[in-house]
């Protein structure tokens, strides 16, 4: 213990890079072509007065198994960038919507052969009307571009995708379903 006041230079207050920039590079473990920023699950990244980086993260689906991985990856990425104190908080409200996937995210999805979602259904108060008809969702084939596609199943390999087939090129593909 020297007893002298530890003086920090102006450049010594933490990593030069913004924590938001670091957090935005972390990818979704199930759709790794998307960053968490593209997916719209990163609700806030800020530095508190004591230097703690607070990241607010929202789950896509209640049971999304990727949440824990996203949290761990954010912690690792920010620690590696030199942020020692990181607090990743879950934010449940407002609930995530596919409308929050950015234009850049939609472009990357299509490029990876996954049809991006259309507009999410409106969230209205009151009873949710029953929909007994065949799915009215439309998605152009991300492989050949044909609009002539059909839904095989509303539930696909991950919580957020449906399974479709192109009638033109006959290839199956995934579609991020609107929610």
């Amino acid at each position: 213990m020297s007893g002298r006041t530890l003086r920090r230079s102006a450049g010594d207050t933490g990593p030069a890079v913004e924590p938001r920039t670091v957090a935005e590079t972390v990818v979704d473990p199930e759709l790794p072509v998307l960053t968490l920023a593209d997916l719209g699950v990163l609700r806030d990244v800020r530095r508190e007065h004591d230097g703690t980086v607070v990241v607010e993260l929202t789950p896509t689906y209640s049971g999304c198994p990727a949440m824990g991985v996203m949290r761990a990856d954010l912690l690792h990425a920010l620690h590696d960038a030199g942020f020692d104190r990181v607090d990743v908080r879950t934010v449940l409200s407002p609930a995530w919507s596919t409308d929050w996937i950015t234009d850049e995210g939609r472009r990357k999805l299509a490029q990876a052969g996954i049809a991006p979602p259309g507009a999410a259904p409106q969230r209205l108060p009151g009873p949710v009307p029953l929909d007994l008809g065949p799915s009215r969702r439309a998605a152009a084939c991300p492989l050949c571009g044909s609009p002539d596609t059909e839904e095989v199943s509303e539930f696909g390999a991950t919580a957020c995708t449906a399974l479709r087939r192109c009638r033109e090129c006959r290839e199956p593909f995934e579609h991020v379903k609107e929610i």
């Binding site: 790794p32 490029q111 052969g113 949710v128």
Partner: protein, 303 residues
């Protein structure tokens, strides 16, 4: 194919570290960082008991659905049932964690031992008489028609409830409900389309769907009877009196069965909610034996 390779290339490139695939019992707290304050003038024990009822319904129905993986009529349907079960498991995790944060852990805490999160203590270390799920979800399945008819009834009830809970005075319950509404809409409409397909299909599928409806309808008897906890929470603007759901649920179910050319069975008279009091048939014991076996044999284990 070229596009598909891009996805998987990215997966292996970005996922070199071993920590990423460490799924197992070592889940994070699903409510990490969420403010757990209980609203004014609400008994935390009531809020916790309510979260247990709704969490147990989701946990047990989810477990019932996973019993159909490898047994559903088509591969796509197995994926669908697994997805629905996963949504329900997610809802259960949030609700059981909320029950734990409200202090409603009972003897599960000491049985589980230290290091086991509240949600796991509640899911794996309660005995059948400590579960608060309704008879609708505990009943064993018959055939696939029974699966979709029961799912239709359960999802219709739960969606009607969740839509109302979006304005709960408890911000956590309101947020969990708001997330659940779009999920449950998918579940209900998926089940409804199957009931249509079976009811308005062949003579055999019609017969099976009718038999399933006859078996499931009596299980709705206690769905609209409030427990004292639900009455108190409804008065406090936190919970919903399930009697309020009766007309909407019956209306939706009648609409689906009618479209499916199925006779709507007689509605049973209201009955006391025995499941909410921990009174269950032996089928819940069998289900929980399977659900809890590994966690109880190796408490605190992760893999």
């Amino acid at each position: 194919m070229g596009h598909q390779e891009t996805v998987y290339d990215a997966l292996t490139a970005a996922h070199g570290d071993e920590a990423r695939w460490a799924f197992g019992t070592g889940f994070d707290d699903p409510l990490a960082g969420v403010d757990a304050t209980v609203p004014d003038a609400v008994d935390p024990a009531d809020l916790g008991a309510y979260c247990l009822m709704l969490g147990d319904d989701a946990l047990v129905l989810g477990q019932r659905l996973t019993e159909w993986i490898t047994r559903a009529p088509e591969l796509e349907e197995e994926v669908a049932l697994a997805n629905i079960a996963l949504d329900l498991l997610g809802q259960a995790r949030l609700l059981l964690s909320r029950a734990g944060s409200a202090g409603v852990l009972g003897r599960s805490r000491e049985r589980a031992g230290p290091g086991v999160p509240d949600e796991d203590a509640l899911a794996y270390f309660r005995d059948p008489d400590e579960f608060r799920c309704s008879a609708l979800v505990t009943a064993p399945d018959g055939d696939f028609a029974h699966v979709v008819v029961r799912l239709l009834v359960a999802a219709t009830w739960r969606l009607a409830l969740a839509a109302r809970l979006r304005t709960s005075r408890d911000p956590v319950l309101a947020a969990v409900a708001a997330k659940a509404v779009p999920e449950l809409t998918y579940h209900r409409d998926h089940a409804a389309r199957w009931v249509l397909r079976l009811g308005d299909g062949t003579a055999e599928s019609h017969r099976r769907a009718r038999t399933a409806a006859d078996a499931v309808w009596p299980l709705t008897a206690d769905l609209f009877t409030a427990t004292p906890v639900e009455r108190r929470l409804a008065d406090a603007g936190v919970g919903i009196d399930p009697a309020e759901l009766r007309d909407e649920v019956r209306g939706v179910l009648t609409q689906v069965l009618t479209r499916a050319t199925l006779a709507v069975p007689a509605w049973p008279a209201d009955a006391p909610p025995r499941g909410r009091a921990g009174e269950h048939g032996p089928e819940l014991t069998v289900l929980l034996d399977r659900l809890q076996d590994v966690a109880r044999a190796h408490p605190g284990a992760t893999w």
